[in-house]
Subunit: 478 residues, 2 copies
């Protein structure tokens, strides 16, 4: 730090570049790209004060032949899990991976709300169950007691205005639809500090059959999820807080076991690879439904063990799609003015590459440098060097980075030439004008090559750290 910097510190002159508007990231998508066999809606039930703000979403799977819909979930690994997380995990476990409904509220996280919170989450489930058409068939002839998963996001330590929410769920019946506007309403009902609804759809092909994926998610702050698969071991009920929620639907048919395995793979490479502020929430949840409505005549669901080829294609499509949804959250990060891809390669393993990318993506010094549009590779190296790597599998010795083999490159998103700033540990004589040219753009990539420790490679998506983030979170409750 130069002495002129000391003077600058004392002067404390603030300039700000506000987060640019993101409205263009929401746009109409053709109905033909949305999965068949789903009806949904979003409405204002009264959780949020402002009447125009939607706060309850209902999503029902209604495949024409009434067969069960496979479901999978990834939940936060936080020790303080919110009531909807515990209830949804319970239902998924009881049903062996089948549900037909999802109900979501924003505005209140139903977290640290004790027994009342659990009762309220169950009440939302029951009210949504009542909207479902009678099930023509159930798995192994067994009737499911509950068929709805629940999610909540918003303020914590407050109980839900449950009667308003239940009335809202009841009233939703009349507006349930498969139109684009219904998908849009549902996506809007997920929002908290989000500045636009996050909704995407796409068509893909597996084994010559056309399927569709659609999904919505929300999140802007408290974003650094680490979600594990739906599981049988959860801590006791009493918990907290809100942030990353997502729900993905497909009209492919997939077995529950394979759906869960594909979702975990996809979430690791999408939602578990983003950071706005390094904060893991207690409500983070991603749900995935697969109702087989695309090709009812094809009665063989995709399965990892019996049909690995179709499964791999599905898993890849799902991963790409989940990454698209996850990136929308980073783009809408609280105060974010940059969208930065952090790629780490040459690590001993994927896990090591992921850890280093995560550390760079959460570094306050890296993120303030991104805001300052400053090619400060020193901060990138310092963050990189602070991560302990896995010990060598062959010798058991700690893996040590060789600084003389590490390279850092800034890669513009516009296809023009990448700018190496450190090559094999030697600082390049960087053209600062060119660096500025790249970094004043909204999108670019930081590529860190650890120099041949292995073929581990991972990507992370992060944003910058701005005055606006401090402003948004410095007086959250006031």
């Amino acid at each position: 730090m130069s002495s002129s910097h000391v003077v600058k510190r004392l002067a404390s002159t603030f300039t700000q570049r506000p987060s640019p508007p993101k409205g263009h990231l929401h746009f109409p998508q053709p109905s033909s790209t949305f999965p068949k066999g789903y009806v949904l809606t979003g409405l204002h039930a009264g959780v949020k004060k402002v009447a125009e703000k939607l706060d309850v979403a209902v999503i029902l799977s209604t495949p024409p032949d009434g067969k069960p819909t496979a479901a999978a979930a990834c939940f936060t690994r936080n020790a303080f899990k919110a009531a909807p997380v515990l209830v949804s995990n319970d239902i998924l476990k009881r049903n062996g991976g089948y549900v037909r409904g999802v109900v979501v509220n924003s505005g209140c996280a139903n977290a640290v709300t004790g027994k009342q919170g659990m009762e309220d989450a169950w009440a939302m489930v029951r009210e949504t169950d009542a909207l479902l058409p009678a099930s023509a068939s159930t798995e192994g002839g067994k009737k499911f007691e509950h068929e709805t998963l629940v999610m909540s996001t918003g303020v914590i330590g407050q109980t839900l205005p449950i009667s308003k929410i239940l009335s809202g769920i009841q009233a939703s019946k009349s507006t349930l639809s498969s139109d684009f506007s219904a998908w849009e309403r549902a996506a809007k009902a997920f929002m908290t500090t989000d500045t636009f609804p996050k909704l995407r759809s796409r068509v893909f092909t597996v084994g010559g059959v056309e399927y569709r994926l659609a999904g919505m998610d929300k999140g802007a702050g408290m974003i650094h999820p680490d979600m594990g698969p739906a599981s049988t071991s959860f801590s006791t009920p009493k918990q907290l807080h809100a942030t990353l929620l997502g729900c993905i639907m497909t009209d492919a048919a997939v077995t529950p076991r394979s759906l869960q395995s594909a979702l975990m793979y996809a979430v690791d490479r999408s939602f578990n690879s983003i950071s706005v502020d390094g904060e893991m929430s207690t409500n983070d949840s991603i749900y995935l439904l697969a109702n087989g409505a695309a090709a009812p005549q094809n009665s063989v669901p995709i399965d990892e063990e019996t049909d690995p080829e179709r499964y791999e294609v599905f898993k890849k499509e799902l991963t790409d799609f989940a990454a698209d949804l996850a990136k929308l959250v980073v783009r809408d990060g609280e105060g974010a003015t940059k969208f930065v891809t952090v790629t780490v390669k040459g690590a001993p393993s994927y896990k090591d590459a992921h850890s280093v990318a995560s550390r760079i993506s959460t570094s306050a010094l890296v993120k303030t440098a991104l805001y300052g549009e400053d090619a400060n590779w020193g901060r990138i190296l310092a963050a990189t060097g602070s991560v302990p790597l896995s010990p060598s599998l062959t010798t058991g010795e700690p893996t040590v980075i060789d600084p003389t083999k590490v390279s850092v490159t800034i890669v513009p998103a516009d296809g023009t030439a990448p700018l190496p700033v450190l090559v094999n540990g030697e600082p390049e004589n960087v053209d600062e004008d060119r660096a500025k040219e790249i970094m004043t753009q909204e999108d670019f990539e930081l590529l860190v090559d650890l120099g041949g420790l292995g073929d581990g490679e991972a990507q992370y998506w992060t944003c910058d750290f701005s005055y606006e983030y401090v402003s948004i979170n410095g007086d959250y409750r006031s």
Copy 2:
């Protein structure tokens, strides 16, 4: 997040409370409280541009009987270690824990400077060696080739203006002194973005004999050290960056082995328990010299194995003193307006308590809430719950927090009543006026009780996250 907050996000109105002046934390201390047998100075050699800014410190141990001075060090665990770190570790190893000099420069970190950097660090060592009086005795009759440790802090990727620094070291001879003003000059030469010199001294008693400790440190940003003991296994020479530096001197006599062990214990509970921004530097170093000048007649140095009683007293005094120095760094944290103690108890182990306290202390959401003077215990819980705890020693099963047993209390520093905000997992009906009363003060404590998982307890010291931090680090190099 409430819907009114969405509106607030879009409005983005910024209010700021700048970091208050900290000059009162530097004050004269009586010469009698400084350890005997040290001369030192600080001067402007020309690394920094502004002529009034001191940038080179020289510290020599000159005990009256000329006996060797024991030395210990803790260095950053970052994979990218700066040249002065590598050179100092090498000397300490060669000498078996004896040195008599320390030389420090600020303004340039001598990091990522390749072979030239290593040569420059060695040149600083040799130039300072030349200032030392001939050694009357050496350890085991062996003459040491080098007897100086070196530290650098400042900008990275630039080589030192080495001839200016060497001239400065030479010129320092005429101003070496044991006066308070000499200690002050040395402390000033450590500074980079620090707003005041960090210098403390104290008198303590071990076994009826009076000893003294004095120390200086620096740091304001890139502060989240994790330092290990001086060691024989370091990565290859090529490295980077700058921040926490400290040097502590005592006139007690301590064996090198016990000095190293006491320093590691103290550093874990002081410098390794502070965070300004969660960033581990590549230059973090703490040195400790013990020259035995207080009681030359007492020829038996303090030793852990042969004299555990005296050793424990010394270790405790050293730990308290190191914590005092470490806290000064947090007080001067870049943009800091709050000084917050984070105490975690009821954890399975000290290590677990330390991990949880560290996570809370680095959470961007907790730290922006501190800036906003907002008793947002939800963010504290979310951070707490995101830390995986050690598995049980008896069963090997993962230790799981029971949310119904967790309590959070805000403890004012003024001795008035603590304010419980969460008791056994139940949110208290918090008196928000009282919460505000406590949190508008500069100092307070966040106490998190994990509820009897064990007797692990640890403290961390952190500051808030402000606009000013973003300002300081958003255009560091421009």
